[in-house]
């Protein structure tokens, strides 16, 4: 079991790190940044998996299964469309 203060500590560090990293993303990549963020927010799948696999057939399991499906759309769709977009960005030849 993790304590609440330990989780808050992680939250604080990753928020600061996020600000630092994202400030360095050039404006030209802001659309792929957003669709990539969609994909990363599909991380909820990780939490949903345990809930959907409880095997109890109760409400929580159904909710978990729904969350797995929704988050999977984000993960698969988000990474694929971001890859498709980033494939367009080319440097000038010569």
């Amino acid at each position: 079991m993790n304590g609440a203060e330990y989780l808050l500590f992680i939250l604080m560090l990753s928020v600061f790190l996020g600000f630092e990293l994202i400030n360095k993303v050039p404006a030209t990549l802001h659309t792929p940044l957003m669709s990539g963020a969609n994909a990363v927010s599909g991380i909820t799948a990780v939490g949903a998996i345990a809930l959907a696999g409880s095997g109890e057939g109760d409400l929580a399991q159904w909710l978990g299964a729904g969350a797995v499906a929704l988050a999977s759309i984000n993960v698969v769709g988000g990474y694929l469309v971001t890859d498709r977009m980033l494939g367009f960005f080319k440097k000038r030849e010569n």
Partner: protein
């Protein structure tokens, strides 16, 4: 070996890969690999989650993954680049709803108070993100009409909804077994999402989808607290931070505060007619060709109209021909051109314009006075000199691309209607401005055929 140790280490690796992938997004040269690194992180996190010994039944999990994965893959392959804002809006909503469901499912009769608070938060943020994103999707795809919806007593209704949410959430935390409170909180969160987005007009959509992007991350973060999972917190807060930064950039580019965007809109535009001196000077494609042929430096400034006219490919053709003719061609891109951050860049990249030719506003403005011809394609407010010159203008103070500093300005425009924000544009009346009326794609096509003959 202890499985919880494996799980823990797996999540550390996944978080590291997310962070590293994001860092590689800092340059267009490494961005594609960065996206793959991030995807690898996601794979690690999901595999580790699947190894969890608490799982007894995989049917629901596999079912959810197959259905979701297929839908995601089909959407990602088929979506047109012009529709990216709608897709991102929809995906924000899906992320929010997944967090809502996880928060709800994490509820158990013996949850501690801190856990209950985080459950409420993930339900609230997730719910607001879900319906807010659906409304944003409706507006962006023009299924709902892109205007603002404002009615009498809106502020009062909103305040009542907020009070209801606070009361419902408090009662729920005190008495988690009473499902009435839970359903009330879910219902009110969904209503609030709608209420927040309906009064916001289409021109402010870049801000709204950035903000909802951030919320979808914060919802995942709250869900991470609810189920005591640190990888959700790391990934969710990275997304949350990204959305907040983009929101700030968008607000700054419109010279407005976030609260101004969310609560007032452009509704208060005064109808007083500002005296604009000068007259409209139309130009034919023939005459425009002669001026372009003699130009040695050209700056192209696109706006959402370019996307609507699907003119990005013919723009690229024009740019190639001008370069072959010895001119230097750059693209000047305003942060809020289009319906989402970076939208113009993706459209032009898809049309094979190299990214080093796409300049940000701050790079293109200093060199504008040495530009022979500036071509404005489907942009209006982002090139409006009233932002610099007319103190009474609602957009006064907004940073714009100073196309009027170029020797000649061509404005490609369908008619003389004012822009999305409904503000008069003195640029059209300037001494050095020539209006090339008609569909942008057709007008550019004429220039291309003249230049290539």
């Amino acid at each position: 070996m202890d499985t919880s140790l494996v799980t823990g280490l797996g999540y550390v690796v996944a978080s590291g890969l997310f962070i590293f992938g994001l860092k590689m997004l800092g340059s267009p040269a490494t961005a594609r690999r960065g996206n793959m690194v991030s995807a690898a992180g996601m794979l690690v996190a999901i595999v580790v989650a699947l190894l969890d010994q608490g799982i007894v039944d995989y049917t629901y999990i596999v079912g959810g993954m197959v259905v979701g994965g297929l839908i995601g893959a089909v959407v990602a392959r088929s979506v047109a680049m012009t529709s990216m804002p709608e897709m991102v809006a929809l995906f924000n909503g899906l992320g929010g709803s997944a967090s809502l469901l996880v928060g709800w499912a994490a509820l158990s009769p013996d949850s501690a108070t801190f856990t209950l608070i985080t459950i409420v938060l993930s339900i609230l943020i997730g719910g607001v993100t879900l319906t807010g994103s659906l409304i944003a999707y409706g507006k962006l795809s023009e299924k709902l009409g892109s205007g603002q919806i404002v009615f009498r007593g809106q502020q009062i209704v909103n305040s009542l909804v907020v009070l209801g949410i606070v009361a419902g959430a408090t009662l729920f935390v005190m008495e988690p077994t009473n499902t009435t409170y839970l359903y009330a909180v879910i219902g009110l969160a969904l209503v609030f999402g709608i209420m927040v987005v309906i009064p916001i007009g289409g021109a402010d959509m870049p801000v709204v989808i950035s903000l909802l992007n951030s919320y979808s991350g914060l919802a995942a973060c709250a869900a991470g607290f609810a189920i005591d999972n640190n990888v959700l917190i790391v990934a969710g807060s990275l997304v949350g931070a990204s959305g907040i930064i983009l929101t700030q950039i968008m607000c700054k580019a419109m010279n407005r505060s976030l609260s101004n965007v969310l609560f007032s809109g452009f509704a208060s535009v005064s109808n007083e007619v500002t005296e604009i001196e000068g007259e409209i000077k139309p130009i034919s494609a023939d005459d425009a060709y002669y001026i372009l042929e003699a130009a040695s430096s050209v700056a192209i400034v696109p706006g959402y109209g370019m996307a609507v006219a699907q003119a990005q490919h013919v723009v690229k053709e024009l740019s190639n021909l001008l370069e072959a003719n010895g001119a230097e061609v750059v693209f000047g891109i305003h942060p809020v051109a289009g319906r989402m951050p970076g939208h113009m860049n993706v459209l032009l990249a898809e049309a094979d314009v190299p990214y080093d030719q796409l300049l940000e506003m701050d790079e293109v403005n200093p060199r504008m006075d040495s530009v022979d011809v500036a071509i404005v394609i489907g942009a209006n407010d982002v090139v409006n000199p009233a932002a610099r010159e007319v103190e009474s203008s609602p957009i006064y103070g907004m940073p714009v691309i100073n196309v009027a500093d170029a020797r000649t300005v061509f404005v490609l425009k369908r008619s003389m209607a004012s822009g999305f924000a409904g503000i008069e544009n003195p640029l059209f009346y300037k001494e050095n401005t020539r209006m090339l009326f008609g569909d942008a794609k057709e007008s550019l096509g004429k220039l291309v055929s003249e230049l290539s003959s």
